[in-house]
C-alpha cells in the first residue's frame, strides 16, 4: 500500500516500479512489486514480508511528510516499536478480505493498536484495505468501522482522533486520487493524503536539552560514522559537540542532512542524518541516545515504571523496549497497584497484576542503558506485549 502511495505521489517513478515488477516476476511474485519499493532487503523480498522499518518522504501542496513503513509480523514487533516511537500519526492498515479481518482483529491488529497508543501516538487513520476483493461493499466497510472503533476507543483512543478510509492498495483507490470505481462511489470522504494533511501536528519540546535516539548507524562517503534518527527534544547545529550514551563518548557534528539536503541546523521532530567525527564507530549502536554534553541523559540499570498491564504481570523476565533500544531485564518487584484515574495506591505489594490494571513496577536491566523520566517503555515477554508505561 505504501508503495502505491509513493507511486501515485510521484516519489517513485513508473520506471522503478516496472523494474521491480520484472525482478519480482523472476521469482514468480509479480504482485509484490509495489511492496518492494520499501522492502529493499534481500530477505524481505525473498520471503515477502516487511522485516524492518523503511523511511521515505513525500510532499503534498501544504506539508512535508516522512513515512515509516513498519512491519506487522509478530516476530518483528521490536522493529515496529522502533517505528512507532518516531511517529506523529499512524495509519493502521486493515485487511478487509473475508476471514482476514476477523483473524487480524484477534491477533496482530490488537497488539499494534495497543503499541501505537502506548508509544504516545494519538491520531490514527484506519485504512480499510483490499475492499476491491469484496467488490467495494459498503456493509463490509461499515461493519469493520463499527468493530474497530469500539476496539480503538477501548484501547484509549478518542473517537475524534480516529478516521476511516476505504482503500485499495493494489489499484490505488482513495490513497491520493479518489476512487474511479463506480462501486465505490458511496464514499465521498477525504482520501488518505487529505486525511494526513488535515491532521494537526503535535507540539514539540524545542527548548529542552537535546535528545536524539539513533535508529540507524551506517557508513557514508562523508563520514565513516553516519547516524540517523529523530530528534526527540532540543535542537542541534553543525559543529556541535555531542555525547553518545551509554558509551559516554564525545563526538562532533561534521555536517547534517535533512531530507537528503544538507542543512545547518535541525530541531525536535525532524528526522535527520548526522555525519559525526572524532568518535570510533564501535562506541555507537542503534538504540543509543545522542544528547547535550552539558545536560547528559543518565544510564540506568534499574528504574520504576508506572505501567498499564495487558497481560498478567508477576516478577518475571521481560524484554524492555524503548524505540530502537531493546534490552533484557526482569520485573524485580511490584511495589504497588495504582488507581487507574487518580494514581493513588490501592494495594501494596500485590502478588500478581491482572490485565488492564495499572501498577508501579521495579525493573532491573541486564546492562545500563540511557533512560530518563517521562519516557515511554514497552515490556514484552514470550513474543507478546505484556505492559506499557511511563518511566518515573
Amino acid at each position: 500500500m505504501m508503495g502505491r502511495l509513493l507511486l501515485d505521489l510521484k516519489v517513485v517513478d513508473q520506471r522503478t516500479v516496472d523494474k521491480l515488477r520484472k525482478e519480482a516476476e523472476k521469482i514468480g511474485k509479480s504482485s509484490f512489486a509495489l511492496a518492494w519499493v520499501l522492502d529493499q532487503r534481500t530477505e524481505e523480498r525473498a520471503r515477502g514480508v516487511t522485516i524492518d522499518i523503511a523511511t521515505n518522504r513525500f510532499e503534498t501542496d501544504t506539508t512535508v511528510f516522512t513515512i515509516l513503513d513498519a512491519p506487522g509480523h509478530r516476530d518483528f514487533i521490536p522493529n515496529m516499536i522502533a517505528g512507532a516511537s518516531q511517529a506523529d500519526f499512524a495509519i493502521l492498515v486493515i485487511d478487509a478480505s473475508t476471514g482476514a479481518f476477523e483473524s487480524g482483529l484477534k491477533g496482530q491488529t490488537r497488539e499494534h493498536s495497543l503499541l501505537i497508543r502506548s508509544m504516545g501516538v494519538s491520531r490514527v487513520i484506519v485504512a480499510v484495505n483490499k475492499l476491491d476483493t469484496v467488490s467495494w461493499s459498503k456493509e463490509r466497510f461499515d461493519e469493520i468501522t463499527h468493530q474497530v472503533t469500539g476496539f480503538l476507543t477501548a484501547t484509549g483512543f478518542q473517537p475524534k482522533n480516529v478516521s476511516f478510509v476505504p482503500v485499495s492498495g493494489l489499484h490505488g483507490d482513495n490513497l491520493v486520487n479518489r476512487s474511479t470505481n463506480t462501486a465505490a462511489s458511496w464514499y465521498q470522504g477525504p482520501t488518505i493524503v487529505e486525511e494526513l494533511e488535515s491532521s494537526e501536528p503535535t507540539t514539540r519540546a524545542l527548548t529542552k536539552p537535546l535528545r536524539m535516539t539513533i535508529s540507524e548507524v551506517f557508513r557514508t562517503v562523508q563520514s565513516s560514522l553516519t547516524v540517523s534518527g529523530r530528534i526527540d527534544a532540543g535542537s542541534l547545529q553543525m559543529g556541535d559537540a555531542l555525547l553518545v550514551q551509554p558509551s559516554g563518548e564525545k563526538a562532533y557534528v561534521k555536517s547534517l542532512q535533512l531530507d537528503e539536503e544538507p542543512v545547518e541546523w535541525a530541531v525536535a521532530g525532524q528526522n535527520v542524518v548526522l555525519h559525526l567525527s572524532h568518535i570510533d564507530p564501535i562506541h555507537v549502536r542503534a538504540g543509543d541516545i545522542i544528547c547535550d554534553p552539558a545536560k547528559p541523559i543518565q544510564c540506568l540499570d534499574s528504574f520504576t515504571l508506572k505501567a498499564l498491564a495487558f497481560d498478567f504481570l508477576m516478577p518475571m523476565q521481560v524484554d524492555v523496549h524503548r524505540g530502537r533500544l531493546h534490552s533484557a531485564g526482569t520485573i524485580e518487584s511490584i511495589p504497588a497497584l495504582l488507581d487507574k484515574v487518580t494514581g493513588a495506591v490501592t494495594k501494596k505489594k500485590p502478588k500478581i497484576v491482572k490485565p488492564a490494571a495499572v501498577a508501579r513496577l521495579a525493573i532491573k536491566l541486564a546492562s545500563k542503558v540511557p533512560l530518563e523520566a517521562g519516557q515511554r517503555v514497552v515490556l514484552r515477554s514470550g513474543g507478546e506485549t505484556v505492559a506499557a508505561g511511563l518511566l518515573e
Binding site: 532487503r41 551506517f218 502478588k351
Partner: protein, 412 residues
C-alpha cells in the same frame, strides 16, 4: 566426580571436629564437577587440597628470597568464588593446620584443580540437602549436552546447556546497517555477522566425536534459518565435512527474541522436548510453567516469596497430591549456617509431609525465572488465599505509622 578415599588424610583431619562420616574425599574429573563442588562447599567447612603458595624467607643478613612451593593446605572456608565461563573454583579461608610454610590463621585461596583430589569436612555434619547435592555430583555424567545459539539480527548468545546449568559462553554483537543504506551493504554485514558468530561458536564450544552435541539455533524471524544455511553453504563450498555435519545435525527453533532468557522458549519447543525428555532441566522448566499458569489463574495454589511459603510449609499445605516446593540452590550457597539451616528445615518438612521438594539449579533458565520470584516458590496441595495477609504485615503497619491503616480503610 569420584570418591577418592584416603585413610591418612581422614585420620589427619579428625581432630578438627566431626566424625569420620563427615569427611569426604572427592576427585573432580570434569569442568562440571567444579560447579558441584561450589554447591557443596559452604562457609565454615574445612577443606584440604593441593596448593601453590609463595613463601618469602628472610635470611639472617636481611636479604629475602621467595619461592613457590607445592604443598597441601587445610583451610576453614570463608568464601568461595566460581567463575562459570572457565569452570574454575577458588576457595578462600584461613589455615587451620600449620606446616613448614604457613602458620595457623594465615589466609589462603585454594584454586581447586581437575584430577586432583580434595577433602571436605563439614564439622556440623551433612544435612539432607548437602547429601543430595553430593549424590548428584557423584552420579555419572549423562554425556551429551546441548549447544545453543540464541540470536537476532546483530546479536547472538552462545550457550552450552548441561544437565545442571546453562553457561553463556560468549555474546556476539555486530552492527548491521538498516536498509536505507542499500541492500548490498546489509547483505555483506549480515555475512560478516554470521562469520563472526560461527567462528566464535567453534572456538567456544567443542564439536568433535568426543563431544557429540546437538546444536540449537534459535531466533525470531528467519535469522536462525539463514545462519544454518550459511553454515551449510560454507561447509559445501570449502568441502568441510565438520561444518556440513554440524549444519545437518542442528535444529532451528523459533523464539520471540535473541536474549538469553528466550532459551525458555527453546526448551519448551516440541523439537527439543522429544530429545530432552529425560533431562533434569526439562522437568524443571515444566514445573515453572505449571507454577506460572497457576499464578495466572490465581487458583490459590501458587505462592512465591519466603514468608508465604514458610507459612504454607508450617500449615502442611505442601503435602501429597501435587504439593511441590521449588527452591533455588543459590539459597543454600554461601550463606551463614543459621539461614541455611532454615532452608534445609523447609525442605525436610515438605518431604516429611509427603510433598515434593525440588532444588532447582539457579544457573538454568528455570532457576533464573525462580530467582526473579525470590528464589523460592511453592505449589500447594490445596488452595489457600490468605498466606500473604500474615500478622507481620500488621506489625509493619504499626512501625510505619497510621498511614497504612488509613489506606486500608479506604479500600474496604
Amino acid at each position: 566426580m569420584r570418591l577418592a578415599g584416603s585413610k591418612k588424610v581422614i585420620a589427619d583431619l579428625l581432630d578438627l571436629g566431626g566424625t569420620e562420616e563427615d569427611i569426604v574425599s572427592l576427585l573432580p574429573e570434569e569442568p562440571e564437577d567444579m560447579w558441584h563442588a561450589n554447591n557443596l562447599i559452604a562457609p565454615d567447612d574445612i577443606i584440604r587440597a593441593h596448593a601453590i603458595r609463595k613463601v618469602t624467607r628472610t635470611t639472617n643478613t636481611g636479604s629475602t628470597s621467595s619461592e613457590r612451593v607445592h604443598t597441601d593446605l587445610t583451610i576453614r572456608v570463608t568464601s568461595t568464588f566460581f567463575d562459570p565461563a572457565a569452570s574454575a573454583l577458588h576457595v578462600s579461608g584461613t589455615v587451620v593446620k600449620e606446616n613448614g610454610y604457613v602458620a595457623i590463621g594465615q589466609y589462603h585461596t585454594l584454586d581447586l584443580e581437575l584430577n586432583r583430589a580434595f577433602t571436605l569436612l563439614k564439622p556440623g555434619g551433612w544435612d539432607s540437602v548437602a547429601r543430595e547435592t553430593l549424590q548428584e555430583a557423584l552420579r555419572p555424567e549423562s554425556g551429551d549436552d546441548l549447544a545453543a545459539v540464541v540470536m537476532q539480527e546483530g546479536l547472538a548468545n552462545i550457550c552450552v546447556i548441561t544437565e545442571f546449568r546453562t553457561v553463556l559462553k560468549q555474546r556476539v554483537e555486530h552492527n548491521i546497517p538498516k536498509k536505507r543504506s542499500g541492500a548490498s551493504d546489509m547483505d555483506s554485514a549480515t555475512k560478516a555477522f554470521f562469520d563472526k558468530v560461527l567462528n566464535t561458536l567453534l572456538r567456544a564450544v567443542e564439536f568433535d566425536a568426543a563431544h557429540p552435541r546437538t546444536l540449537l539455533l534459535a531466533s525470531p524471524g528467519f535469522v536462525a534459518t539463514e545462519f544454518r544455511k550459511y553454515i551449510l553453504d560454507l561447509g559445501q563450498r570449502t568441502s568441510d565435512k565438520k561444518l556440513i555435519g554440524l549444519a545437518k545435525a542442528s535444529m532451528v527453533v523459533h523464539t520471540s527474541s535473541g536474549h538469553v532468557h528466550a532459551l525458555n522458549e527453546v526448551l519448551k519447543s516440541p523439537e527439543v522436548q522429544t530429545k530432552m525428555k529425560d533431562k533434569k532441566f526439562y522437568g524443571e522448566t515444566r514445573l515453572m510453567d505449571d507454577f506460572y499458569t497457576r499464578l495466572r489463574k490465581d487458583d490459590g495454589r501458587a505462592w512465591y516469596g519466603l514468608k508465604p511459603v514458610v507459612r504454607a510449609v508450617n500449615e502442611g499445605a505442601i503435602g501429597p497430591g501435587g504439593g511441590t516446593l521449588l527452591i533455588n540452590n543459590s539459597l543454600f550457597r554461601n550463606m551463614d549456617v543459621a539461614t541455611r539451616k532454615q532452608y534445609v528445615d523447609l525442605v525436610d518438612k515438605v518431604k516429611a509431609a509427603g510433598g515434593e521438594a525440588r532444588v532447582l539449579s539457579s544457573d538454568h533458565e528455570s532457576g533464573q525465572r525462580l530467582d526473579a520470584l525470590g528464589g523460592i516458590a511453592a505449589i500447594l496441595s490445596y488452595p489457600s488465599y490468605d498466606l500473604d495477609e500474615d500478622p507481620e504485615d500488621e506489625e509493619d503497619g504499626e512501625n510505619g505509622g497510621g498511614n497504612d491503616t488509613a489506606e486500608g480503610t479506604t479500600v474496604i
